[in-house]
């Protein structure tokens, strides 16, 4: 046996360098494959155990949380509540368990308001989970910081404000966005002050999230938007136009009209799009005047707006476009002239009262 091995080694040593190289490469591959298979086995075992722990403790923590909240209704149950707090406190020393506890709390807190929600927040303080989150704000890893801010946002921890605001110029976009959401969620419109100094673009994704947070509150006192509509940051303009529309800010009509001549076509179109919603009638004349110098997309937006804003005086102007090459303009014209009625779902009816027009060739009627 040993002799055989020796022979092989000897034969290898005497062979061509390429053969030697390939042999060693094969042996190297085999070694790595064996190591990786062992690692894979180990990895899968660990993941399976982790999965089991997660499932067990998720159930356990849900039950404990319900128990705690249930006891909350009864003033004599303080002792039991104290025990649950101690239990969560002890469990949260473990990283995985802490993650599970927080997830459990949030799963319920996100869906409810009122005293139960306050009780969960209180539990977050009592169990000391808040301390581990605030201490993570100092972490060097951006994703740890972002996650901590997110957690503090969801538990509505106002005390963290001073510490979080120091990170407002964090080099990582994700961290800045989490801070913006924190500010708006906890301080509503006051939190939007960051728009005054924002230099980076606010993506549409971020805008939707901020609007969505604001949407959850009723009866907010809406701030003055004039400044934001004069921002040099296009994304702030775009965001403020959305705000103006949602919160019916007719008062900023002059700023909106001024945006019709903004350098960015997208901003111009977005400005035209809010005209009808706010009912800014003086804007119609402004747009009509230089209609022909505007781009096609602006013209389409103009006619879409006219569907709601056209007055009898506009009819001759509108009628001139019934043969327009663009489908959307034609449809808008027909809607304004009341030739057809189009529903929200794009189904339509031809209004029989106006028979002197024929529905034109490129308009497919699916019937």
């Amino acid at each position: 046996m040993v002799e055989l091995l020796q022979n092989i080694v000897e034969a290898l040593n005497n062979s061509h360098p390429i053969i030697q190289f390939c042999t060693y490469l094969s042996l190297f591959f085999i070694a790595i494959i064996i190591l990786l298979v062992i690692y894979l086995k180990n990895l899968r075992d660990r993941l399976r155990i982790k999965g089991r722990i997660e499932a067990t403790y998720k159930k356990k923590y849900e039950a404990e949380l319900i128990e705690y909240l249930y006891a909350d209704d009864d003033k004599n149950n303080n002792l039991q509540q104290q025990q649950i707090i101690t239990y969560f406190k002890k469990s949260s020393e473990n990283r995985l368990k802490r993650k599970l506890i927080i997830a459990t709390f949030l799963k319920l807190k996100n869906e409810i308001s009122g005293e139960t929600s306050d009780a969960i927040q209180n539990l977050y303080y009592q169990t000391g989970l808040i301390d581990s989150a605030t201490s993570k704000l100092k972490s060097k890893k951006w994703d740890t910081v972002a996650r901590a801010i997110r957690e503090l946002t969801l538990f509505e921890i106002k005390e963290a404000h001073d510490e979080i605001i120091q990170l407002i110029n964090h080099p990582k976009k994700e961290v800045r966005n989490e801070i913006q959401k924190y500010l708006v969620k906890l301080f509503r419109f006051d939190g939007l002050e960051f728009l005054n100094v924002l230099e980076n673009p606010l993506s549409e994704w971020d805008q939707i999230q901020l609007l969505e947070i604001l949407n959850k509150f009723n009866n907010l006192e809406v701030p003055d938007m004039n400044n934001w509509l004069q921002s040099t940051n296009n994304s702030v303009l775009s965001f403020t136009l959305k705000l103006a529309k949602i919160y019916n800010q007719y008062g900023v009509k002059d700023e909106i009209i001024a945006l019709f001549n903004h350098a960015d076509i997208q901003i111009r179109i977005e400005a035209i799009n809010v005209v009808a919603h706010l009912g800014i009638y003086e804007a119609v004349a402004v747009l009509k005047e230089d209609y022909f110098t505007r781009s096609l997309d602006e013209q389409i937006a103009f006619f879409k707006m006219m569907e709601e804003m056209a007055v009898p005086d506009d009819i001759p102007f509108v009628r001139d476009h019934i043969e327009n090459e663009n489908f959307f303009i034609r449809i808008s014209v027909m809607k304004i002239l009341n030739l057809i009625t189009v529903d929200d779902d794009n189904t339509f009816k031809i209004n029989t009262t106006a028979t002197d027009f024929t529905i034109d060739k490129d308009l497919t009627i699916a019937s």
Partner: protein, 476 residues
């Protein structure tokens, strides 16, 4: 007998095949490394995103799911139900019945209380005409559903009609039998909305294989590892392509393909380039190349995004006949697309698209099977002429085989570290076993199909489509 082949000739071929193998192996390694970095980055960025915030928002952008259906009577009702249960708010589902010869339409009408409506259609792309028209449900619970019945014109034609019908800003083009997870649309729309200094023109999703998985009521209940070796091989193949290949290409902004089974597009740009090409069997690859080309020519900053989360599950062919005809079609699609856009190849005007993506695709997708077969013939010639140096040849094969296995195992580890979908006991062993058997059980058929695809493309123009017979997705 030993024929003396000219030594220079032998050397020449040796260098070509050896050089190609080294180039292929290095490109795999480089792509895998880029993928690893990009995946870690993606996981970090998305670990704390709350998708529920965007899904519930009515100001989130509107999306149309466009799903062509051809003779899908067996599962159409279930499939549509699954599409309607997506957790995004602002979307509709457009089913294009592409001239089915069975009762697909009737089944839909009955199940969803459909009635014919007059519907405005902006004919921006020419398509085959409507047959019975446009249908909508009388039940408000199904108000998201639009069913269109048209004359048969193929998948691309049906998708084009969907583009005409949709009134939304984005379109998700999918196979109707795909199972989309509930949060798929918000995950796919994210890159479009996040971009601030460039435009995202399309996003591609991952396709996972649903064979043997238990699907009930339009939900993926249980993930199993199939017994069938063809399907097993494909699972590994898909994992390799999606986890280690496309992730890297998306980082390099060089993605050339978005799977036809699940892709999200900016509708305006898809229409500006003229919609899907009805003359190719590779319409899913072709439209991406054309959209990219269009953006390059406009000198606009753009991206094709890629979402690695397992969002779309579909059934893979489970017998050799269908498997081969599917791959045959893919091969012809690749040839047609590359030929149609040969102008961009090796053209620095098209940036990384021209000097990186196209050449890579040409070399390692288009030519690889041909070079491999030539290599086999060359080897046969050497055997016949008794010129084989056996120890070289055998060792060369062993190294190639071991590398393939190693690469597959790295893929499996990547899957475990990221999505860990195959959780059950024993599946790890089966995955590893597949890594060893796949090069033998699947690869020869892929090679055969690719060669047949080339042959059909050049000599057999009449063949257009491979049949893909459906088995029940909802049955377990």
């Amino acid at each position: 007998m030993m024929l003396n082949l000219p030594e220079q000739l032998i050397n020449f071929f040796d260098y070509i095949f050896f050089g190609f193998a080294i180039a292929a192996i290095s490109s795999y390694i480089i792509l895998a490394i880029i993928s690893a970095f990009e995946t870690v980055n993606y996981m970090k960025k998305n670990s704390f995103v709350n998708y529920t915030e965007i899904l519930s928002s009515s100001i989130s952008p509107s999306i149309s799911i466009i799903a062509p259906a051809y003779n899908e009577s067996l599962n159409i009702v279930e499939n549509v139900r699954s599409l309607l249960s997506n957790h995004y708010v602002n979307y509709d589902v457009i089913i294009i019945n592409d001239g089915s010869k069975d009762d697909t339409l009737e089944k839909l009408i009955e199940a969803y209380d459909l009635v014919k409506v007059d519907y405005l259609i902006n004919n921006q792309v020419a398509t085959k005409p409507l047959r019975k028209g446009v249908f909508k449900s009388t039940n408000p619970a199904f108000e998201k559903l639009i069913v269109v019945d048209k004359e048969n014109g193929g998948k691309a034609d049906a998708l084009n009609l969907g583009l005409n019908i949709s009134t939304n800003k984005y379109v998700a083009c999918i196979d109707v039998d795909c199972l989309l997870l509930e949060d798929s649309l918000q995950k796919m729309i994210k890159p479009f909305l996040e971009a601030t200094d460039h435009k995202v023109i399309a996003a591609g999703g991952v396709i996972r294989i649903a064979n043997s998985c238990i699907i009930k009521d339009g939900k993926l209940l249980d993930i199993n590892f199939p017994k069938n070796s063809i399907v097993r091989g494909q699972i590994l193949e898909y994992l390799r392509a999606f986890l280690l290949g496309r992730m890297a290409w998306s980082k390099l902004n060089g993605l050339l393909v978005i799977s036809g089974a699940f892709g999200l597009f900016d509708k305006k740009i898809a229409l500006e380039v003229g919609g899907y090409d009805t003359k190719t069997v590779g319409e899913d690859m072709e439209i991406i190349v054309r959209m990219r080309r269009y953006m390059e020519e406009k000198k606009a900053k753009y991206k094709v995004a890629y979402i690695p989360d397992p969002l779309c599950w579909t059934e893979a062919p489970d017998n050799y006949k269908i498997f081969i005809s599917q791959r045959n079609r893919w091969t012809r699609g690749t040839i047609e697309t590359l030929k149609k856009h040969k102008k961009i190849g090796f053209n620095p005007k098209y940036n990384s698209l021209g000097i990186l993506s196209y050449p890579y695709w040409f070399l390692f997708e288009r030519l690889a099977p041909i070079i491999e077969v030539l290599g086999l013939f060359y080897f046969l010639l050497l055997i016949v002429t008794n010129n084989v140096v056996w120890d070289y040849a055998v060792l060369f094969l062993i190294v190639a085989y071991l590398f393939t296995v190693l690469f597959s195992i790295i893929t499996i580890i990547a899957e475990e570290l990221t999505y860990h979908q195959y959780t059950k006991r024993g599946m790890g062993k089966q995955l590893i076993k597949t890594a060893f058997t796949e090069p033998i059980l699947n690869h020869p058929f892929i090679l055969y199909a690719a060669i047949k695809g080339n042959f059909d493309y050049y000599f057999n123009k009449s063949i257009k489509w491979g049949e893909m017979t459906r088995k029940g997705m909802s049955s377990n």
